[in-house]
Structures are given as structure tokens and as C-alpha cells.
């Protein structure tokens, strides 16, 4: 089954939930509404064979609306195909349903995304910071978080 067929099946099943699709260098990305993310992922896993969640991360598009994207990299072990699903998340309502019920591996990835990007995952079994200390303030991978850390002079070395 080609990746285009996967996209067509998703569209046939979910209709308006699929907001956008894109191909770049042979990699297909589909953007879906965040409300349906668990249903989309379950469908991809159970019906289309994407049994492996390779990675999950958040991306901050500061200055655009919606501000965040949560990105799911899927893999089909049988056909060796990769597929990417994205879900937009608003800044004012920075949360999305967890997919850790679909793939257990999402548990730590979502904790990392929460820790570094500040996106909450509804119904997550154990949503705590994972890499940073529990009392850390802020989310470092956000674009408005300075690279040198808060309350410090910006590093000027390369700009001067």
C-alpha cells in the first residue's frame, strides 16, 4: 500500500479531521485535528499496520496560530514505511489527548514534550518532568526561552 493510499484511507474514514497533507523528499506528513488524535492513531495502528511509534515531539512555531505542533513519527514494520502525523495545539489551550494507551512508548516521549515544550497530555498516567528537575521554571525548547537561560546576559560571542 502506497503512502498516498494511507492518506486516502485516512481521509475516507475521518473526512474533515484531516486538515492538510504534504510530501517532501518522499516523506508524507498529515495534519489532523487534535480532538481526533487518539482515534486517528488507533486507526493507523490497528487497520493500517503502523504498529511502531518511533518518536513524538513538540514544535514551537512562535508568532503563528496555532502556536504548537505535536509530531508523531510512525513506522510500519511489515512494509518498512514511515508516516508522519501532526496535530496543531493552541497556545491558550496547550493540551492534547495522550496516545500512551495506543503505544506504551509514548509515555516517556510525552513526558519529555511536556517537560521541554510545555504541552500537557490529557489522561496521561504519569505526567511529570523527566529531564529537568521537578522545581524547574519554564520550558526550555520554547522559542521565547533564551538559549543562555533566564536572567542571564545573552551570549554575544558569535554575533559581535
Amino acid at each position: 500500500m502506497s503512502l498516498q493510499a494511507v492518506v486516502d484511507k485516512l481521509k475516507a474514514k475521518f473526512g474533515d479531521t484531516v486538515l492538510n497533507e504534504k510530501e517532501f523528499r518522499g516523506e508524507v506528513t498529515v495534519v489532523v485535528k487534535k480532538e481526533e488524535i487518539v482515534a486517528v492513531c488507533t486507526f493507523l495502528k490497528d487497520e493500517l499496520g503502523f504498529s511502531f511509534l518511533t518518536d513524538l515531539c513538540g514544535v514551537d512555531y512562535l508568532g503563528t496560530a496555532p502556536r504548537f505542533m505535536v509530531v508523531y513519527q510512525l513506522y510500519n514494520i511489515g512494509t518498512h514505511q514511515r508516516f508522519r502525523v501532526k496535530a496543531p495545539v493552541e497556545e491558550g489551550d496547550a493540551c492534547i489527548d495522550t496516545v500512551s494507551g495506543v503505544w506504551s512508548t509514548a509515555n516517556w516521549h510525552e513526558r519529555e514534550c511536556y517537560d521541554l515544550m510545555g504541552i500537557s497530555f490529557n489522561n496521561h498516567p504519569d505526567l511529570r518532568r523527566i529531564l529537568l528537575p521537578d522545581d524547574w521554571e519554564g520550558h526550555p525548547l520554547r522559542k521565547d526561552y533564551p538559549v543562555q537561560g533566564p536572567d542571564r546576559e545573552p551570549y554575544q560571542g558569535r554575533l559581535r
Binding site: 511509534l53 514544535v59 506504551s104 523527566i130 529531564l131 526550555p140
Partner: protein, 392 residues
């Protein structure tokens, strides 16, 4: 039946068998582990954040510091991702591809040797540690001759290699690849028939194939759970499709299966090294892409184009078109992936690293809950984690 009170103990982060700064909080009922909770992040250096502020060439040295036991593999994953982003994948010269495979397999042996050394040492077999590090030292010498550094190689470049192989190294590499199977027999002679070794790792840390896929486990840990999947064969990169090697699969699912699986992988790596050495022909080592690849020193000082390209690449960097790619490579520990988003500027808008050890470590509670506390040490060893990669 009388129930006893459970006890919570802390293991690590400064503990010799946690392979770095891993902290485990174990809830024990007598000697039986009821619950294991890993705490990580002690080595977090913010590599993903830093890379958003560097040019694509400047990120390469950061990738060495992820899995510092297999630095060449991280370099390889990163340069392949950038090359895919640039659409440069088909332009890489034959010689550069062969050298990449050659060194990737050498790195696999190096990483597996450290795994065997530390795993056996944790369980109490000290001699093997010394033997494995003796062989690893030879690989370190190769590293030093090739890249100038023993650990942080930083040898591959976007578009090819930073320098050609030194003269005469082919002969030494061939001898090394000839010797390794003999050394492996020595290790097996010390361990495989050893009753203590057998009792400590057989039926310990069992992980079924279904659970392994669900938890995202990759690499030898997945293949030792009976799942036949290797990115080198299934999603080939750098010309791996031209090599003849066997993907080692074992359905034992326990620590013993992972032990035999990794030993056999080293044998296969030796075969690949021999094939790569056969394929190695003189030729260019960098792609013909002057706006991306740094010009040679001779061109920089003698030609005006070379000078301009050098200046532009160093001061500004190259600008890939807008887009996003994900490339995964088969690291010794599992799939390491790089997800790059470009917004058309000389710096990546976002770089996400998919670390193998981070995901594999997630299987630890599943593998050691219900077993004895001494088995936790065996499970940490068999997962072959590197904290530099977990914490990034």
C-alpha cells in the same frame, strides 16, 4: 499469608553498575522488586536547544556527545538527515559511502565490546572486562589515526568525509577484522559454559516481542525478542543494500538471548568490514556541491571561488529549502533518528533526536518488576544504555 512491609531504596545516580548517572527508585518486598522507577536527566545539556542556534556544520560535534560509545554512528545519522534535507543523498561519492559503512561497523564492534565488558563486570566476571578493553583499545587507535580523536571522532561531514583514510590503514583493519572472531571465542570460552553466568542471565529480564514493539524497543534488544527488523537491511542507507550480512534474530526474549545476539552481530560486523575493504577504491571523498561542502585548503587559498565559498559557508552557513525530514539509522543500541525542520535559514528551526537508549530504558520496569534485586543489575547491563544519549 502474612504480608510484609515494603521498603523503598535508592540506587544511583552514583552507582558503579548504573552505567553513568541513572537513578532508580526501587520498591522492595524482601529481595523482590515490586516497582522500579527510573529517574533521568542528570546529564541533560540541552543539545536540541543549542542546535537551533548553530549552523548545520556546527551541530556535528554535538552529535558525538550523544552516544559517546558509538560517536561515528551519531555523526552518520545526522549527516544523512542533513543530506536528505538538502536533496544531496544521491551525490555522495562511492568511497565516502564505503568508508562510512566501514567505520559504522567498526563502531558497532566498539560499542558491543564495552557492553560485554561492563555487563560481565556487573555480574562479577572481571577477566572479560580486561580482555574486551584490550580489543577496544585497538579500535581507539584506529579512531585516532583516522579522525585524530579517540572518543569524539567528528569525522563525517555533510557531503562526505572530513579527510581521507590514512595510508596503510586498510591492512591493519583487515587484520583486526580477522582477529575479532578468535577473540569472541575467547569471550565465549570464559562465559558461555560458565554456570554462574548462565544462572545469572538465563530467563532474566524477559521481554516478549509484542511488548518490545509496544514499548518502542529497537536494536539487539528487539531482535533478541524474536522481531526480525534491522534498519540496515529494511531501510538501507549509505549503500548497506550492497553488503551481504545476516540479521541476527533470537526468540529467547531473555538476557541470554541478547548476549548471544550481540556476539553474533559482532561476527557479522567483521564480515561487513571485509566486504567494505574489498569495495574500497580510490576516488573523491566529498560531493561536488561547492555551496554546501567546505572547499579544500588548496582551493581556498588559490582560487577566488574557493575563497568566497569558504567565507560564505563559515560565516553564514548553507540554507536548505523549507521542509522537514526524519532519518533513522541502526545504532549499536537501536534506532537513532534525527528529525530536522528547516525554515530556509542556515540553522535548523527544530532538531529532535530520537535516542535509542532513552526508549529502551523505558522497558526496564517491565523487565525487572517481580524479579530479584540482583537481576536489576543484569537488566541494566543487557539494555546497554548510555546516559549521554538518554539525557542529551
Amino acid at each position: 499469608m502474612a504480608t510484609t512491609e515494603t521498603m523503598t531504596i535508592n540506587m544511583g545516580p552514583q552507582h558503579p553498575s548504573t552505567h553513568g548517572v541513572l537513578r532508580l527508585v526501587l520498591e522492595l518486598d524482601g529481595e523482590v522488586v515490586k516497582k522500579a522507577v527510573p529517574h533521568i536527566g542528570f546529564l541533560h545539556r540541552g543539545i536540541e536547544k543549542l542546535s537551533e542556534h548553530r549552523t548545520y556544520h556546527q551541530i556535528l560535534p554535538l552529535t558525538d556527545r550523544l552516544d559517546y560509545l558509538a560517536p561515528m554512528h551519531n555523526n552518520l545519522g545526522y549527516v544523512l538527515a542533513v543530506e536528505k534535507l538538502l536533496g544531496l543523498t544521491d551525490e555522495i561519492p562511492e568511497r565516502a559511502q564505503v568508508v562510512r559503512v566501514l567505520l559504522a561497523e567498526l563502531t558497532r564492534i566498539k560499542s558491543h565490546l564495552v557492553w560485554l565488558a561492563c555487563h560481565a563486570l556487573d555480574i562479577g566476571a572481571m577477566t572479560i572486562f580486561i580482555y574486551c578493553f584490550r580489543e577496544r583499545e585497538e579500535i581507539m587507535d584506529f579512531y585516532e589515526r583516522i579522525s585524530g580523536a579517540r572518543m569524539t571522532s567528528n569525522y563525517f561531514r555533510v557531503g562526505g568525509l572530513s579527510a581521507d583514510l590514512p595510508d596503510g590503514i586498510e591492512k591493519d583493519l583487515r587484520k583486526f577484522a580477522d582477529d575479532i572472531p578468535g577473540h569472541l571465542e575467547t569471550y565465549e570460552g570464559l562465559l558461555t559454559g560458565n554456570k554462574i553466568w548462565q544462572k545469572r542471565i538465563q530467563n532474566v529480564g524477559v521481554l516478549s516481542g509484542k511488548d518490545a514493539i509496544d514499548l518502542g524497543v529497537t536494536g539487539p534488544c528487539l531482535r533478541a525478542s524474536g522481531v526480525d527488523w534491522d534498519l540496515r537491511r529494511d531501510d538501507p542507507y549509505s549503500g548497506y543494500e550492497n553488503y551481504d550480512f545476516k540479521v541476527i534474530v533470537d526468540d529467547g526474549c531473555d538476557t541470554w538471548a541478547r548476549y548471544t545476539c550481540r556476539l553474533d552481530e559482532m561476527r557479522e560486523s567483521c564480515k561487513i568490514i571485509h566486504q567494505a575493504l574489498d569495495k574500497l577504491k580510490p576516488g573523491p571523498i566529498l560531493a561536488d556541491a561547492p555551496k554546501i561542502v567546505l572547499p579544500s585548503k588548496q582551493d581556498t587559498v588559490n582560487t577566488i571561488e574557493g575563497l568566497i565559498h569558504h567565507f560564505k559557508i563559515v560565516s553564514e552557513g548553507f540554507k536548505p529549502e523549507e521542509g522537514e525530514v526524519y532519518v533513522g539509522v541502526e545504532n549499536p543500541k537501536g534506532e537513532v533518528g534525527f528529525y530536522l525542520i528547516s525554515d530556509g535559514s542556515p540553522r535548523p528551526y527544530r532538531m529532535k533526536i530520537r535516542p535509542a537508549s532513552f526508549v529502551n530504558l523505558q522497558a526496564l520496569p517491565k523487565m525487572c518488576e517481580g524479579s530479584m534485586i540482583a537481576d536489576v543489575v543484569a537488566v541494566i547491563g543487557t539494555l546497554d544504555i548510555v546516559l549521554g544519549e538518554i539525557d542529551r
